[in-house]
Symmetry: C2
Subunit: 396 residues, 2 copies
C-alpha cells in the first residue's frame, strides 16, 4: 500500500491527526520541501489511500487543500473481548470508529465459540456498511489475558478457561483475508487513549483499568511496555494485604481481590446488612443485588456507609499506584474501566493517596484523570494496534 | 571522529564486544559485503580509532586480522559519586577499565568540593598513564539522586544536601575539553551490567542496588527507563509497612528504612543486646559497632539471630520485588550494592519471596543473580553512558 518511507511518514501523521492536514503542515512536520511532499501526496491520492477534505484557511498565496486518510483505503476490524463482553467495531485506517456493537458474552465459553460469534458481529457491521471482509486491511483483537506477541497466542490467562495457548491470531487469520494482530485488552486501551484519548501526545503514562479485575497498560518512551513474557502491567496481583482474602491467582490479598468491583460489592452488601448504609440497603432490597455502580450512586447521594466502601477500595488502589509512580515515574495516569465511572469520590480518594504517598518530584506534574474514550478505548486501541502493525509490515 | 553510519555501526559492535572481532564477523553482523567493511575499517585504522589485535583462527582462505577499538582513540573519564564514596576510573572508548581509584567522601560536603576532589583524582590517574585531559573524549558522571537529563542537573535529591538543582554537567564541562554526561548512579550500574556484566544481551532487566539505600535501574527494550522526571526506579520508597519507621522522605515504612544496611544493623544490634545472637554480640563487643557485612558473616557461621535479621530484610525486599516483577515482567534481576554481598542466605531469601509471590508466567524464566561487576559497575556504566552519548553526538 505504501511504497517508501516518506509515504509511510505522511500516513503516520495523518493517522495520528484528529483533523485534516495541509500539504504545508506535512512539509513542516517532515522537514522536506513542498514539491517533494506534493509528489508523494499525489501518488497516495491516485492510489486511493488519501482523499481531499476541504480547503485550509488561507495564509495568502495558493489555496491549500486539506488531506485525510480515505475511507476507500480500507477498513480495520476491531474485536475487544472482555471477561463478560464482546465489543466489535469497524474503523478507518486512522482509527476513527465507523460502526460499533457490543453484547454480553462469557469468555469462559471458550475460544471457538467466542471467536465465531465475534466474526459474525464483524460481518454484520460490514454488511450494514455495504462492505465485505475483502475491504478489511487488518484486524486487531484484544483479550483479557497475557499474549505471547511472537505467536499471537494467549498464555496462562487467569480468567480465560479453555484459552491457554490458544492461537488467537492464527484462528482469526483463517476467517479474514488480511493480517491479524493480538494483544492484551488493557494494553489496547492504553494504545487507544494514547492515539485518540486522554494521553494524546504523552509518551510516558499508565492506563489503569478497574472493573471486574484490575490491570494496567504502561507506555514508556511512546511504546507499550509488554515485558519479557507479555504480562507486564499486572497491577491486580500486587500484594496489598498479605493476610487478606485468597485470590484467583492462589496468593492472598492481591489488589484485585481487595479493591475491584466484586470486592466493592461484597463490602457494600456487608455494610447494607450491618445497617451502616441505608441507601444501599434500600437498593439491595429492591433489586436483590448490588453492582459497583449502585455503591457509587449511593455514595454521591450521601450514604456514609457507601462512601466508606468507595474510599476503602480507592485508597488501596491509590496506595498501590503510589508504588507504581515511584517505579515508573509517568507523566500521567488515566483511569478506565467500569469502576472508574462510579463517582467523584473514587477519583478523589485515589488522587489523595497517590499525592500523599509518592515522592514530590514524581507527582509535581502528575495529572490523574479518567479515560476520554470510555467503552470505546478497547476497540480504538485494537484498531491502532492493527493500523501500526500494517504500516510496519508495508515497509518490509 | 566517526564519519558515517557504517563507521558508527562498526564502532558500536566493537565497543560492545568482549573480545576482538574479525572483518568477516563485522560483515555478517552488518549484512554488508567484505569490501564495504574493509574500506571503512581501513579508514578507522588510519584515523587511529581502531587497532589490529592478532589473527583470527583460520577458516580457510585469506588469514583474517582481528580488530578492536584503539587505546589511542582516546580515553573516557568515569566519576561515580556515592553517598559516602568517590570512585574515579579511566576506561577505553569500549569501556574497559584502564585505571580505577576510590576513596571515602561524604556527598554532603557539597558539589564544589566533591567535584573538585573527583577531578583531582581523575588528573592523577591520567598522569599515571602518561596522559592529560586532552586525551579524554568524554566524561561520564554518576550521582546518588535523580538527574534532569535535559539540563544535566541534580533534582530534589533526598540524600545530597546542597546539591539540589546543581548543574553537574556544566560544572564538570568547565574542567575538561570534551562532552560530559550525567545520570543517576543506579541507572549507571544497570548500564554497566548490561554492557559488560550479568545482563549482557538481556534487553529487559532490573538492576537492584541494596546498600545504605535501595534503588533500581530498569532497562526496557534495551533502553534505560528514566521516567518523566528522571526518578523512575525509586524502589527504596515503596511502602512495605504503613505503620513502620519514619523514612528520610517523610513517609513511614518505606522499603529502604525497613531493609537497607542501616535497618539490618539496627535489628542486629537489638538481637545482640537481647541475647538472641551470640556471634553478633561478640563482634559488637569487640568492634564497638556492627556493619551489614558482620551480620552476613555471623549468619553464615550459624548465628540463628543473625540469620533471622538477614532473612527479615531479604524477605521484605523479595516481597517488594515480586510486585516489581508483576509490573515490569523482566527477564532477569541483578542484585548489586554492598548488602547483596553479605552471604548466600540474603540471595536465597529474596529468590524464595519472589518465586512464591509472583505469577508463575512472570517467573518461569526469571534468574535472580548477583552483580558480575561488583564495585566496578558504576564506573563501567558511567563510561558506557559517555561512550554512547559521544557516538550519538558524532552522528549529528
Amino acid at each position: 500500500m505504501l511504497q517508501n518511507e516518506l509515504q509511510s511518514a505522511i500516513f503516520r501523521i495523518l493517522a495520528g491527526a484528529s483533523e485534516p492536514v495541509s500539504r504545508a503542515q506535512l512539509g513542516a512536520s517532515l522537514g522536506v520541501g513542498r514539491n517533494v511532499v506534493g509528489t508523494e501526496v499525489r501518488r497516495l491520492l491516485d492510489a486511493g489511500v488519501l482523499e481531499e477534505a476541504g480547503q485550509a484557511e488561507s495564509q495568502g498565496g495558493r489555496p491549500s487543500l486539506l488531506l485525510r486518510i480515505s475511507r476507500q483505503a480500507g477498513l480495520v476490524g476491531s474485536i475487544d473481548l472482555g471477561a463478560t463482553s464482546i465489543d466489535v467495531a469497524l474503523t478507518t485506517l486512522s482509527s476513527e470508529i465507523v460502526a460499533h456493537t457490543a453484547e454480553a458474552a462469557d469468555i469462559g465459553r471458550g475460544p471457538k465459540r467466542i471467536l465465531r460469534r465475534s466474526f459474525e458481529l464483524l460481518r454484520r457491521l460490514l454488511g450494514a456498511e455495504g462492505a465485505t471482509t475483502a475491504d478489511l486491511r487488518a484486524v486487531g483483537v484484544g483479550v483479557p489475558g497475557p499474549v505471547d506477541q511472537a505467536e499471537g497466542r494467549v498464555v496462562a490467562p487467569p480468567i480465560m478457561p479453555g484459552w491457554n495457548k490458544f492461537p488467537v491470531r492464527a484462528a482469526v487469520a483463517e476467517l479474514v483475508p488480511c493480517p491479524v494482530f493480538v494483544d492484551n485488552d488493557v494494553n489496547l486501551m492504553a494504545l487507544g487513549e494514547h492515539a485518540a484519548g486522554a494521553a494524546r501526545g504523552i509518551d510516558n503514562f499508565i492506563f489503569v483499568k478497574v472493573g471486574t479485575g484490575i490491570g494496567a497498560g504502561i507506555v514508556v518512551n511512546g511504546r507499550l511496555m509488554r515485558g519479557a513474557d507479555g504480562c507486564a502491567g499486572d497491577l491486580g496481583h500486587l500484594s496489598v494485604n498479605p493476610e487478606g482474602r485468597r485470590c484467583t491467582c492462589g496468593n492472598r490479598g492481591c489488589l484485585e481481590v481487595e479493591a475491584a468491583a466484586p470486592a466493592i460489592v461484597r463490602a457494600a452488601v456487608a455494610a447494607a446488612e450491618r445497617g451502616d448504609a441505608p441507601l444501599l440497603a434500600a437498593t439491595l432490597q429492591q433489586q436483590g443485588y448490588l453492582a459497583a455502580r449502585d455503591v457509587g450512586d449511593a455514595a454521591s447521594r450521601g450514604d456514609v456507609g457507601a462512601l466508606a466502601v468507595v474510599r476503602a477500595a480507592a485508597g488501596r488502589i491509590g496506595l498501590t499506584l503510589a508504588s507504581v509512580v515511584s517505579l515508573i515515574n509517568p507523566s500521567l495516569i488515566v483511569l478506565g474501566g467500569g469502576v472508574s465511572q462510579i463517582g467523584d469520590a473514587f477519583l478523589a480518594e485515589i488522587r489523595t493517596a497517590v499525592y500523599r504517598r509518592s515522592l514530590p518530584l514524581a507527582t509535581r506534574n502528575l495529572p490523574i484523570v479518567t479515560s476520554e474514550l470510555g467503552s470505546d478505548a478497547g476497540v480504538v486501541g485494537a484498531s491502532v494496534l492493527a493500523g501500526r502493525g500494517l504500516l510496519l509490515r508495508s515497509l518490509q
